[in-house]
């Protein structure tokens, strides 16, 4: 019976790990971002599951329910997860913007292709890899 109660957690772990796998194994950058989303959603379930109380209701006081002795679910994980969701979407937006710029510069969103381009670039420059493309310091003012 105890393990039945943990079944939820285990599925959540599988979901998290699916996301994690996409993040580290897939070369496609957009896929990585989607994977990050899956991973984080998994964490959200985990938190929210912690706060669930059997037979409870959402932690909003309603007059009609107040009369009966109502059990409420724990609101704290919900609050934490609201914050985490926002963090997640912020990270995702940032990542996608980076991907768009990377595609502009490399014409690819596959990590291994980009690595190959970098390597080629290195070889073409005969080791002068780090030569700066920043504005040349002409007549500094």
């Amino acid at each position: 019976m105890k393990y039945l109660a943990l079944y939820n957690y285990w599925i959540v772990v599988i979901i998290m790990m699916a996301g994690f796998y996409i993040m580290i194994a897939r070369h496609n950058l957009v896929k990585k971002i989607i994977g990050l989303g899956l991973f984080q959603t998994g964490i959200f379930y985990f938190y929210v599951s912690l706060g669930k109380v059997d037979g409870g209701t959402a932690p909003i006081f309603v007059e009609s329910l107040e009369a009966q002795a109502t059990v409420y679910s724990n609101p704290l994980p919900h609050v934490l997860i609201l914050t985490a969701i926002v963090v997640g979407v912020a990270t995702m937006a940032m990542g996608l913007a980076l991907i768009v710029r990377i595609y502009e510069k490399y014409d690819s969103i596959e990590e291994d292709e980009i690595k190959a381009i970098e390597r080629q670039h290195w070889q073409e420059n005969n080791g002068e890899f780090g030569i700066s493309l920043t504005a040349p310091p002409t007549a500094s003012s």
Binding site: K2, I14, I15, I24, V30, K31, L50, V53, V86, E110
Partner: protein, 198 residues
């Protein structure tokens, strides 16, 4: 028990979607799937009594995130390249991490256990549920905690969103449209100018 069954079914559904995302090469489909995934997630959150979370997940995960992902896809490409071989190292890492996590769950209080320390902590969970009405006076405990008890976290959260906007602005910028792209828009601008002159 029905509740538990619903959750189990939905979670299993999520697993299927997650594996679909791993395997599919078409990024557009993957994005749509992740949208569905978020919507399902929102449903699960409702069943788990986390209505605020569900609301947010539906709005953000299924809504805004999907739009951003679609936007990024239109700006890049739709197909994922075929990967030549499976990444066994990644599989190993993931398996180990997952095994560690499952090992950790063994001592967790069972799902829905109202007596767990997390749900019974007198200064946190129980304090919010029992005293927030007297201390804050609003019915939605989540809002009380969010905006008052842990208002500082929410300030941080707002700053995170703000940072993301700054970051994307600095990366992509707001580029001006060229006029000829949208003649209708041009007409409107002129119209507006005329109005101002009048």
């Amino acid at each position: 028990m029905t509740e538990q069954l619903v959750i189990m079914v939905l979670l299993s559904f999520l697993v299927v979607i997650a594996f679909g995302i791993i395997l599919l090469k078409d990024l557009l489909v993957a994005v749509i799937l992740s949208g569905i995934y978020s919507l399902t997630a929102a449903a699960i959150f409702v069943v788990m009594d986390a209505v605020d979370v569900a609301f947010t997940e539906a709005a953000v995960g299924a809504g805004v995130s999907t739009i951003f992902l679609l936007g990024a896809l239109t700006l890049t490409r739709r197909q994922q390249k075929q990967q030549k071989h499976n990444n066994y190292f990644a599989l190993l890492v993931v398996t180990l991490t997952g095994a560690l996590l499952i090992y950790g769950t063994l001592d967790l209080p069972g799902y829905g256990d109202g007596q767990s320390i997390a749900n019974q902590h007198p200064q946190l969970a129980q304090h919010f549920l029992q005293k927030s009405e007297d201390e804050i006076g609003i019915p939605n405990v989540v809002t009380s905690v969010l905006a008052s008890y842990r208002g500082y976290d929410t300030l941080g959260e707002t700053v995170v969103v703000f940072t993301a906007a700054i970051g994307v602005l600095s990366l992509l910028g707001l580029r001006r449209r060229k006029r000829e792209e949208d003649p209708e828009l041009d007409a409107k601008r002129q119209c507006r100018q005329q109005n101002e002159e009048v």
